[in-house]
């Protein structure tokens, strides 16, 4: 897919909370000593005063600061998440208000499991590309949900990134093309009244993550006429590091190409924020002229794949905290009990 006018990223910003829990602490609570080591060593945890809205505002402020665009030009704000603080009430209006871009703005929350953030990116490209708005803000942010003791609890992390899209003439990275690939695949879901999501165990792999990620990636590569070797970087949704390694290998991407955008080993899977954080980590170091391959995955299920080309403007817009800064800024919580308190998993009334 391509918009009527060329669109790109004006600015971007990431956010990862400071706190981490060691997955060994989770394992000690739930598993026998002989259990295999968890897929990641630690994962990010929100502080007591953090939620998707505060985190989205943090990331968006960095994006706006880097973009240097007039606030009046921002015509849309979308927050893609599956852990919105209010079941009914938009998070996007709080974010838009905090950024000072209300009231003449389109605002809503997007929901598509882990690809809600890239869904917002697709919409932003379309809004700007059609000329309806000058700039549109797409955010993917999560304080990822998982049932205590479930396999997901060992990886479900917190964080995300914000992308402000504008006309390509002002962009640090131009969107060359994008596609979406969706099917009705119930690999992970949470029913209306359920407290935690359920997942299909091994069904989440081959018929879900890999099928959609590979299909969307191959379709985009065919559409733009590039091969894996034409990209300097490749970013994927990262439920666990080995999923990325396998998908990348199938598509012909080397470790050299995906390692910069693979943030999960240090913070876990930030669900709707996961692939967007990976992209931000790549933009932190990408050089003008380089191509970036991007493919999200969201359960339910689908993938959005994007092809970006980095422009000369990237060097002058780099300021503020990088993804690496956030990953290095860490404090480990004191065991599983403190983690349960911070995640609100202990019912007190």
């Amino acid at each position: 897919m391509r918009p009527n006018r060329e669109v790109g990223i004006a600015g971007y910003g990431a956010y990862v909370p400071r706190l981490r829990v060691r997955t060994a602490d989770i394992s000690n609570a739930w598993r026998s000593r002989s259990a295999a080591a968890p897929a990641v060593a630690e994962k990010s945890v929100p502080g007591p005063d953090e939620d998707v809205v505060t985190m989205a505002i943090e990331a968006a402020r960095t994006a706006l600061d880097r973009a240097g665009i007039d606030l009046e030009d921002i015509g849309a704000v979308w927050v893609g998440t599956e852990s919105k603080p209010y079941a009914v009430k938009p998070s996007a209006t709080i974010v838009a208000e905090a950024l000072g871009v209300t009231p003449h703005v389109v605002a809503a929350d997007m929901e598509f499991a882990c690809k809600a953030g890239s869904e917002a990116m697709q919409a932003a490209v379309a809004f700007v590309g059609s000329g309806m708005v000058e700039a549109a803000l797409a955010i993917g942010m999560d304080t990822a949900q998982s049932k205590p003791g479930d396999a997901l609890e060992y990886t479900a992390g917190c964080g995300g990134a914000a992308y402000l899209f504008c006309d390509a003439s002002k962009a640090i990275a131009v969107v060359e093309a994008s596609i979406s690939h969706v099917t009705d695949t119930p690999d992970f879901f949470r029913r209306e009244t359920a407290h935690y999501p359920e997942h299909g165990s091994r069904f989440t792999g081959e018929p879900s993550y890999f099928r959609h990620t590979l299909a969307a990636s191959r379709k985009l590569l065919a559409e733009v006429g590039f091969e894996a070797k034409d990209f300097a970087h490749a970013v994927f949704h990262q439920p666990v590091p080995k999923f990325v390694e396998k998908a990348a290998a199938e598509l012909g991407f080397s470790r050299e190409q995906y390692k910069t955008g693979l943030v999960a080993p240090r913070m876990g899977n930030a669900y709707a924020g996961s692939s967007l954080l990976g992209l931000a980590a790549v933009l932190d170091v990408a050089k003008p002229g380089e191509r970036i391959f991007f493919c999200s995955y969201g359960s339910g299920a689908g993938s959005d794949a994007f092809c970006f080309r980095v422009t000369e403007r990237i060097n002058e817009r780099r300021r503020g905290a990088t993804v690496l800064n956030y990953l290095d800024r860490r404090r480990v919580v004191d065991g599983y009990g403190q983690y349960l308190r911070l995640r609100g998993k202990i019912r007190r009334a």
């Binding site: 026998s32 002989s34 259990a35 295999a36 997942h199 299909g200 165990s201 091994r202 069904f203 081959e206």
Partner: protein
């Protein structure tokens, strides 16, 4: 009693069949078996299945599969004997032909386990144990086997690692079987390192959760034609024991394995020494060891020592799990007993390719359910 023959065998690969349900798996195995036998219609269909109701929300598998395989309006119904359901379906089908009621029938074992995950599968499998005194107290299938294995290790002064040869042999044989789930050989070291599921049982002691269907066409002597390559069901026998482990006088004698094998030996005139290979119910390595001792292939407490000497591997005194067994071909529970019969038929026809037991003429298959509370044994002759 009339003589009974197997004239057709068919199977789906054992796998996680995400895109195929009971209908598709069942119809595929039945049509393959019928094509192998060269028959267009059958008089009846016997369906071995354990979890259709508990996991798939589907009972009445007789009608479901007769319809799916285009066998309407043939008589058809389900036979349930926990993990021995596949063996029991073949037994029921053979009895109907032996009694002269039917001339040609199909027996199928089928299971679709991957529609449910984790707790739901464990709970479904636990319905084979004693609901009042085991399952409702949280004893899972693995936990019950762990109790047996712990006791065996204590009584026989065995270590966990001593059980490795069974899993290593199963994986080695499965590697050559295109229908097997696990086609990677493993080493004794890998076995020893495998994470514990319920101590002392590790991941590599246990058969996997999976999907599959296997079917055989069974007929009378009158029905045989020149183009058939019949394998005779020389004898078959079933047995039961207390449903709960606590009721057994000796935890280390697998009574149902002993009784069903001895009855089949007596009825066929064959003894353990006449058996060329044994398709054992190797759902857990401890069950393999106890089955071998119960069926007369090792004295009590000697199965592990004989296994260490390669007695149960290809070329050994009595090869076991020649296509990978439940452990590595896979254990779609209610289908496993029928997979054993399909595989034994393939061996006795001399069509087992790289898995062929040279000169195989007589085979023992044994399908066990509910921790040794029920079993069906078959002796097949080329």
């Amino acid at each position: 009693m009339n003589d009974v023959f197997i004239i057709g065998a068919g199977q789906t690969p054992v796998a996680e069949h995400w895109d195929r349900g009971l209908r598709e798996l069942g119809a595929t195995a039945i049509r393959k078996a019928m094509a192998d036998a060269g028959v267009e219609t059958v008089d009846a269909l016997f369906v071995g299945n354990m979890l259709g109701g508990a996991v798939n929300g589907q009972e009445n598998l007789g009608a479901l599969l007769a319809d799916a395989a285009d066998l309407l309006p043939a008589e058809a119904w389900k036979v349930e004997a926990a993990c021995a359901s596949g063996g029991a379906a073949v037994r029921a089908a053979a009895m109907s032909v032996a009694a002269g009621i039917h001339q040609v029938v199909v027996a199928i074992g089928i299971e679709k386990m991957t529609d449910a995950v984790g707790d739901k599968i464990a709970a479904g499998l636990a319905t084979a144990s004693d609901g009042d005194y085991e399952a409702s107290h949280g004893l899972s299938f693995v936990a019950l086997s762990a109790l047996m294995m712990r006791r065996y290790m204590h009584e026989m002064s065995a270590s966990r690692e001593d059980f490795a040869p069974f899993a290593v042999n199963a994986h080695k044989n499965a590697a050559l079987n295109a229908n097997a789930m696990f086609r990677e050989p493993i080493s004794a070291e890998t076995f020893a390192r495998s994470p514990l599921v319920a101590a002392p049982i590790g991941v590599l002691d246990a058969a996997p959760v999976c999907d599959g269907a296997a079917a055989v066409v069974i007929c009378s002597r009158e029905f045989l034609r020149g183009h058939h390559r019949p394998v005779r069901i020389a004898a078959a026998a079933g047995a039961t024991d207390t449903i709960g482990l606590a009721g057994r006088p000796d935890l280390l004698t697998l009574g149902v394995a002993k009784v069903s094998a001895e009855k089949a030996y007596a009825a066929s005139g064959f003894g353990p020494k006449d058996i060329d290979f044994f398709e054992a119910h190797d759902a857990f390595t401890i069950i393999t060891a106890m089955s071998l001792e119960a069926c007369g292939f090792a004295p009590r407490g000697e199965a592990l020592k004989r296994a260490a000497h390669g007695c149960f591997s290809a070329g050994g005194c009595i090869p076991v799990s020649t296509f990978g067994g439940l452990k590595a071909r896979g254990h779609p529970v209610g289908a496993s007993g029928t997979y054993q019969i399909v595989e034994a038929t393939t061996q006795l026809r001399g069509e087992a390719g790289p898995n062929q037991v040279p000169g195989a003429r007589v085979a023992l298959t044994q399908s066990i359910g509910g921790h040794g509370s029920i079993a069906v044994a078959h002796i097949l002759e080329a």
